[in-house]
Amino acid sequence: MQLTLWTYEGPPHVGAMRIATAMKGLHYVLHAPQGDTYADLLFTMIERRNVRPPVTYTTFQARDLGGDTAELFKTACLDAYERFQPEAMIVGASCTAELIQDDPGGLAQALKLPIPVVPLELPSYQKKENWGASETFYRIVRSLCPANADASRRNPKSCNILGPTALGFRHRDDLSEIRRLLERLGITVNVVAPFDARPSDIAKLGDAAFNVILYPEIAENAGRWLEKNCGQPMTNVVPVGIGATRDFIAEVGRLAGIDTTEFLAQETSRLPWYSKSVDSTYLTGKRVFIFGDATHVLAAERMARTELGFEVVGIGTYSREYARQVREAAAKIGVEALITDDYLDVETRISELNPELILGTQMERHIAKRLGLPCAVISAPVHVQDFPARYSPQMGFEGANVIFDTWVHPLMMGLEEHLIHMFREDVEFHDGAAPSHLGHAAQKAQLPKSAIEPASETVPLAEAKPTPVAGEADWAPDAEKELKKIPFFVRGKAKRNTERYASEFGLTVISVETLYDAKAHYSR
């Protein structure tokens, strides 16, 4: 049993819905109690889809339980087939139906519908949304795409794009960006799936020479099956960021037998110059904490260090399936990876690290508000704001531009930050003030916790008053005042260092002198 305030991922059947809703001509019959239909609003409200997801729910109730839930499922299946005339169906159970063990797969097979029916086994008490999406896509590909390793009639310069789904973080725009990129390279896109694909398109996946995997969490399993059974290699680089996009171009060039040198020389992104221009100097060494799904975290970690010049002080992911990759990336930069789906653990880690910027999900935005830290959203779970009206990809060269703006926007502008350091007691330019371009509302969010939040044991270090502890040095009032002049995001560290210094040197009182002695001591 796990205490959960917010969940990063929905249950696995929501993952299956993301596949079904992305596709056309596919219908999902879901054995589920009434109430589970809430999932429709994820698509119609958050993503603003203008049609209902192609899902029929049995919506059984308590009075159905003793008797005929299996019959209810069969009727729902038949009715859905009659009404929607899909090319193929997927069938499965949500968490409650899993407990009553009606075997939707077997029941649907017994109906002998004249279309392919793909049964799904999605263990709700073990797995989550992304796994559900990946498994569903894999099952659909496996069932509908004939194994065929004969590459002789394939156009070597053709590929499939696998991974974009409904309710995906910027999937719509990533797809446009990457499709355009591939076409400019002279590569034909055979099938995009699951986004807008029909079951009949899935059957044609084998016609391409290789597969582009945009989101490994969703499409890697299907990609591996195609690699093994259709002899199609797949891409390993996710093109988020300038470096990764360049690597991706080189990778697809190798797979398609295209020389990409000239193309790469003509690349067009503003990020490199924007990041090099002196105005961005203030970004140097900003301490960032990164959390989200594995794909976006790994990409953000690379971009943050090598394309914006930040210092990454911590990374983590809720994608347990990709824990290994995230741990490796963390080890390379000498930090410990946080692998958890517990929002409270993430909050604790952020409080400890006290970063200057959080790159996270909507959940970390809550944490950031609480702690008064700037935050940019880099990953699902999605929010209505993650489906902007404007073109806003994360992938490719335009994606890098979008990310540059998104990450820099919540930060203090360079000179503004200097002025705050210089004139610390200015009533408007104090520590708690938000970047002035973010306006008054942002400042309100940084009021002391007590104003917003009745109880919180996670008071940021910045607000922790130096309190004398038995056996430790006391802070003299003037030293305490001086401590407050240190920028809030390093104040906790300065405080700890000074106290450590005082205890090492056996001092009982910390004076202003001690503070600066400690600073000199630890800056060696």
Partner: protein, 430 residues
């Protein structure tokens, strides 16, 4: 005391829709489960916390229904049952104790904790009543632990509030002797204050509201307590109150000028409030409400409306739209029709109105498309798809989250229905 409230006119001939046959449907129900009630209940009762014992689906549902994201940390959470719990590898009592301890450590401000049952906890027959009693023993006097079920297999949307209040009535309300009036059903604080002022002006002093804003100030109940429902979905709560000897005051629901006056009158009559005193307390409000409705009536009169089942507020709303705004009722769907509590609403509906109970969403959509109403009241899952087909829609969930009861909200309530049409007119050129 104890005068029966007289319904208008002669009771022997059925009026309005009282004896009207109802279209009962079984099929896919596009409705929320009772857990959704937590979204408003956790804001209403300021020092209560709602811990759902359920699956990731439950956690995801509340998170998604709660306006997708609420920015303050909510006073609700989910204890997610996992495979170890199901396989019996973990002792479920120990697990629950651990989760509750962690929660109460984090939130020292919490004084009432609801363990909320879900579909999975009901199916595996987890005894949350026993768990609540055990945890109460551990945590009282600081925290009282109660339980109810908000599961989708037993409750539809607002029935979650019903189950919660019924649990409060059965286990947590003190006894009282003197006569009192209790208004039952979560209403917004501003409406509560307005009703309080009106009751005070009538000379009614001992008035309580269930649920109260604070776990410590819940009203006491006794044989001289008369209760009036402010919400139409409180079946089990009413039964629990009856069991404690309290007496139900039959009334229509306080929506619109007429609805509010009739509701207040029902309460006033039970306490023998003289007519002039009642008039002095309510006339100004009634006139203000009527005035506020005029502009909206121009926009809405003659327009047709179709209700998909959602909150059980559908019948009182339909009555208001028909009686006070002149709208035509195409179909009024409700998840559950409680004839006794809705009797006075049924009387006021025009004879021949199509009433439906339960749902087969695809068939209902067919009827809706066929009827081409000017306005469709429906849940969030249906609203955008219907808009895309050219219908104007009003999300029904907003009618639960917005202050709509009482005189001074009558105009706002009408405005909720007028706005989609207004918007459609403004955007006609798009």
């Amino acid at each position: 005391m104890n005068l029966p409230f007289k319904v208008n006119g002669n009771e022997s001939t059925a009026k309005g829709c009282v004896d009207q046959p109802v279209l009962r449907e079984r099929g896919q129900r596009e409705v929320f489960c009772g857990l959704t009630g937590i979204v408003w209940l956790h804001r209403k009762i300021q020092n209560a916390f709602f811990l759902v014992v359920g699956s990731r689906t439950c956690a995801h549902l509340i998170q998604s229904a709660a306006g997708v994201m609420i920015f303050a940390e909510p006073r609700f959470a989910t204890a997610i049952i996992d495979e170890r719990d199901l396989a019996g590898l973990a002792d479920i009592d120990d697990e629950l104790d651990r989760v509750v301890n962690r929660l109460l450590e984090r939130r020292p401000d919490i004084e009432m904790l609801f363990l909320v049952g879900s579909c999975p906890s009901e199916v595996i027959k987890l005894d949350l009543k026993r768990a609540a009693q055990r945890l109460s023993k551990i945590h009282l006097p600081r925290v009282r632990v109660l339980n109810y079920s908000g599961s989708g297999i037993e409750t539809t949307f607002t029935q979650g509030e019903d189950a919660c209040l019924a649990a409060l009535v059965a286990d947590a309300l003190p006894e009282t002797k003197p006569a009192s009036l209790v208004v039952v059903g979560a209403i917004s604080d501003v409406v509560e204050d307005q009703f309080n002022r009106i009751f005070a002006a009538m000379g009614l002093e001992n008035v309580g509201f269930l649920p109260a804003r604070n776990a410590h100030s819940m009203p006491a109940i006794g044989p001289e307590t008369h209760y009036i429902l402010a919400q139409p979905f409180l079946n089990d709560t009413a039964r629990a109150l009856d069991e404690r000897g309290a007496k139900h005051i039959p009334a229509p629901f306080p929506l619109g000028a007429n609805g509010t006056t009739a509701w207040l009158k029902a309460a006033a009559d039970v306490f023998n409030i003289p007519a002039d005193r009642f008039a002095a307390a309510t006339d100004a409000g009634h006139k203000r409400a009527e005035k506020a409705l005029i502009a909206h009536r121009e926009a809405l009169a003659g327009k047709s409306v179709f209700f998909f089942p959602d909150s059980q507020l559908e019948l009182p709303l339909a009555r208001f739209l028909h009686e006070e705004l002149g709208m035509a009722l195409v179909e009024v769907g409700t998840p559950y029709l409680h004839r006794q509590h809705l009797r006075q609403e049924l009387e006021r509906l025009p004879a021949g109105t199509v009433l439906s109970e339960g749902q087969d969403v695809d068939r209902q959509l067919d009827r809706c498309r066929e009827a081409k109403p000017d306005l469709v009241v429906c849940g969030l899952g249906l609203a955008n798809p219907l808009e895309a087909e050219g219908f104007s829609t009003k999300w029904s969930i907003e009618l639960v989250f917005t202050p709509i009861q009482g005189y001074d909200q009558a105009g706002d309530l009408a405005g909720l229905f007028a706005r989609p049409l207004n918007r459609q007119a403004r955007l006609g050129g798009l």
